[in-house]
Symmetry: C2
Subunit: 231 residues, 2 copies
Amino acid sequence: MSGQPKGWEAIRAEVLRRIRARDWAPGEAIPNEADLAAEFGCARATVNRALRDLAAAGVLERRRKAGTRVALHPVRKATLDIPVTRAEVEARGQSYSFRLLQSEMALPPVPVALKLGLAPGSRLLHLRTLHLADGKPFLHEDRWLNPAALPQPLPDFAAISANEWLVTHVAYTSGDIAFSAENASDAEAAILGLPKGTALFVTERSTWSEAQPITAVRLAHAPGYRLHTLV
Amino acid sequence: MSGQPKGWEAIRAEVLRRIRARDWAPGEAIPNEADLAAEFGCARATVNRALRDLAAAGVLERRRKAGTRVALHPVRKATLDIPVTRAEVEARGQSYSFRLLQSEMALPPVPVALKLGLAPGSRLLHLRTLHLADGKPFLHEDRWLNPAALPQPLPDFAAISANEWLVTHVAYTSGDIAFSAENASDAEAAILGLPKGTALFVTERSTWSEAQPITAVRLAHAPGYRLHTLV
């Protein structure tokens, strides 16, 4: 690391070399950016770019006060896109349609009520929708919606899917998402036209707008579904 | 939007309001940052912060030359942590162990060879490892390693898992990752101690270091596994 000016990739490579060689051990603080810039003979911004990249990759941990340390447990990160179902089907080059199977006010199951932090006895709108790709079952959506937190009047969910309506009509939201695998129940296998016990890829989301619970949804995907991204 | 200086959250809320109200329609370019800053009576950096947040949320699309547009298909993004298996088990408060089931040079199946871009007939190191949490099967790892691209000598993979060794000994990598659900084959059900056909959460990764293919791995998780994150 001497001679002509370095690009940030070269700085990144040298920092990684030191980490791999345990010159800088897991958990150890590394020199500050100004010192590294002086040592490497480059701009501090170049060091910063390299360290940010390594932090994004989970190799370094950056804390406001404690400075930058070598990660004890390197964690790679992957970013997933979560599109609306219609866009997801269309991106596969298939034609999208959906059928509303059920729409009624009902008492949600306890896990749903707890997840959304609702008072006991709160009734929600229960929607079940089958989404189709080229006319074949693509996913079964089982959704609980909190009408009290939604703009009124609600649309006809047989004409616009709740998924799509929420994205375009409810303010910026936060929430959580979980992915798992489940054997299809008899009821879900029948809806999706699958043998009993077929392995389903399941996505569960709960969504808030400001501090208001909006919706909890379970998406059960027909076989062949893969969630794919670059790392 | 007038009166005292605005925080970036207020700018974000106003931008979102205009998008929801279709004052700014999907696909349409929005005014530039300088004009918005003048209109809102705030610093341009404040506008920038708000727009970046909305772009990260998939509501806006920012292109270097085309400027900032309202997304045609809003895409939420989620970031996943991909820790090494030992750290994942320990984070659950369980004790980690593993057993190397198989280690031999072999011809990979065609899909693996294609995925890694290997010449036909290339032999790879085939490792199969059972990872345990509190002594119970946690996941079955089926891995193909390209020894030509690895630092030598290779370690004893019965003493350190390939997963952990790669993270600490192979330079910064890129690759892809996919998640799906599969019914356990009879062989995999036996390894994991599960009934035949149990739904397994499957993670598949392929990894490169610079332009060299390093490894392709399939992780089949025992039931109860959930990949969870905030959105």
